[in-house]
């Protein structure tokens, strides 16, 4: 005797606690097992690429804050790098170093958020998230000290930074850097060997390295799959070639490896910042750039290793004050490409974990 059954189609999102915003997955279920996934996005589409075509190069910097709103500094950096490449603008060494410090602090903050909310998705009742929030708070305090903002910094400028760091910044940063490794140790002790967490995340959402490369995923997800590819090493921008750091890579390419890679990257970021602070030169932080910049007609693509992956800006100039084409290569969006391959065959509860391990930010997915 056999029963006639139908798949249960469930809408995960756009309002759902674990889709990290207004993302929607149309999930077909056979009992608890996922048989099909279709991602639906665009609920946060604000048309940034179109809006940017109407504004000057300087006016577009605040837009980039609002893409990956958990990593505004990185977005600023990628954009100003693209403009500098387009218009051949030099940047002073001090500004370069400060950019690296800010970008790496931002990586710590963003990964803290990613790891915390990932564990929240795994069902830990907010405790890991709040622990990570505590550390992220310290980074936000440092940023607030620097530029007065806690979320949308608008700190980088074409040709440097908006202003130099205040005198109290470096002591506060030093204290943070001293505390951070111990905190990461504590966090790993709390959770990395937790049997339930291992059972939930090991072997879940496996992304083989071939598929990872072919699907253009980047950042911790690519490295979690065991591909040693980090733009800070592969294509160094700013002054990253002057620092000594490791690229952590996963083995199995499962959700746990992506979680683990993020934790290790936080350690490496601390190392980079320590070296950058030690080498920090004196000098101006901003070169002379006209307020209405008119780059020559042409195109430029600059990419950085943002916390979420390869963040690139492709700018086309027609010689006017506004970019002719302003294209964002957003890592969160492209990292969703292999979502179906990663989820089919796992359980509903795993879908949440897999999405959490991808660490998407909807401001960047939808732009």
């Amino acid at each position: 005797m056999s029963f006639k059954t139908e798949p249960l189609v469930v809408n995960f999102g756009p309002q759902h606690p674990s889709t990290h915003g207004v993302f929607r997955m149309i999930v077909s279920l056979d009992g608890e097992v996922i048989t099909d996934v279709e991602p639906v996005m665009g609920y946060l589409h604000r048309g940034v690429e179109k809006l940017a075509e109407e504004r000057t190069y300087l006016q577009n910097i605040p837009f980039t804050d609002r893409l990956d709103y958990l990593a505004s500094m990185s977005n600023n950096l990628a954009y100003v790098l693209a403009v500098e490449k387009l218009a051949n603008i030099p940047v002073s060494p001090r500004a370069q170093y400060l950019r690296v410090i800010m970008a790496e602090l931002q990586r710590i903050a963003s990964h803290a958020m990613a790891v915390g909310s990932f564990l929240n998705d795994a069902g830990a009742f907010f405790t890991p998230l709040m622990y990570m929030f505590r550390e992220r708070e310290k980074v936000l305090d440092l940023f607030e000290m620097t530029c007065g903002q806690r979320l949308t910094y608008n700190y980088m400028r074409v040709g440097g930074l908006s202003h130099d760091i205040p005198p109290e910044f470096l002591p506060a940063l030093g204290k943070f850097l001293d505390d951070m490794p111990g905190f990461i140790d504590e966090y790993e002790q709390l959770l990395s060997e937790n049997e339930i967490l291992l059972a939930r995340t090991k072997g879940v959402g496996i992304l083989p390295p071939q598929l990872a490369i072919n699907a253009s995923v980047s950042g911790p997800i690519l490295r979690g799959s065991g591909v040693k590819w980090d733009l800070r090493k592969a294509d160094p921008y700013c002054v990253y070639d002057r620092f000594d750091f490791d690229i952590p890579v996963g083995k199995a390419g499962d959700s746990y490896d992506r979680f683990w890679v993020r934790l290790q990257e936080m350690r490496q970021s601390v190392r980079i910042i320590q070296q950058a602070v030690a080498q920090l030169p004196q000098g101006e932080v901003r070169s002379q750039v006209p307020a209405t910049l008119r780059p020559q007609a042409g195109e430029a693509y600059a990419h950085i290793e943002a916390p979420k992956g390869e963040l690139g800006f492709y700018l086309v100039s027609d010689g006017s004050v506004a970019p002719y084409r302003f294209k964002i290569r957003s890592p969160s969006f492209i990292n969703l490409t292999p979502l179906r391959e990663m989820m089919v065959g796992y359980k509903v509860a795993d879908a949440v974990i897999i999405l959490g391990s991808l660490d998407i930010v909807l401001g960047e997915v939808d732009r």
């Binding site: 690429e49 179109k50 591909v227 492709y314 084409r325 290569r329 969006f333 492209i334 732009r367």
Partner: protein, 167 residues
């Protein structure tokens, strides 16, 4: 450091296998004939020494006379990158073959280009709008979007006085 392979050099390599495929190659990019795109893509991906296995970026630019679809490709093994471009002159019905069969990372990105720029990718596995909803009038990243008669969603908004920006 990722070495950018110059378009001229890459064009010569492609010409050796596909004599017809290259329109022109300049310092930055190779411009291909669109009908050869898929073959050249798999050639670039599999040829030893090139092995562009990572499609980092797909986008399109509206140059009013034509659309230019741009592919930034990278080889993780050799750490070099290149840019290939395809032009499609037909403004009403721009068509480019899809490279999603070669690099599946093109899947979402081509959908985005289709959605916002209106370039149709032939043989794409799932060519639907991705950021905007089905039935949205026009393709907003086209340069003439705001002037399209009867297509702009903002056409009902009162026109502003002279000298004010539309947006």
């Amino acid at each position: 450091m990722t070495t950018a392979i110059s378009g001229i050099e890459l064009a010569n390599q492609i010409k050796a296998s596909f004599a017809e495929a290259v329109l022109e190659g300049d310092e930055r990019a190779v411009i291909l004939r669109s009908e050869y795109l898929t073959q050249v893509a798999s050639f670039l991906k599999t040829t030893p020494g090139l092995e562009f296995d990572y499609l980092s970026h797909v986008t399109a630019v509206d140059y009013l006379d034509y659309f230019e679809v741009i592919y930034h490709i990278t080889s993780l093994a050799h750490n070099h990158s290149a840019v290939i471009k395809v032009k499609t002159p037909d403004r009403d019905n721009p068509e480019v073959p899809s490279v999603a069969s070669v690099w599946c990372g093109a899947n979402l990105q081509e959908r985005e280009v289709y959605d916002l720029m209106g370039v149709t990718f032939l043989e794409h596995p799932n060519l639907k709008r991705v950021l905007l909803w089905e039935g949205f009038p026009g393709h907003p990243l086209r340069k003439d979007f705001l002037t399209l008669e009867g297509k702009s969603p903002w056409q009902t908004i009162e026109p502003l006085e002279e000298g004010h920006h539309v947006l």
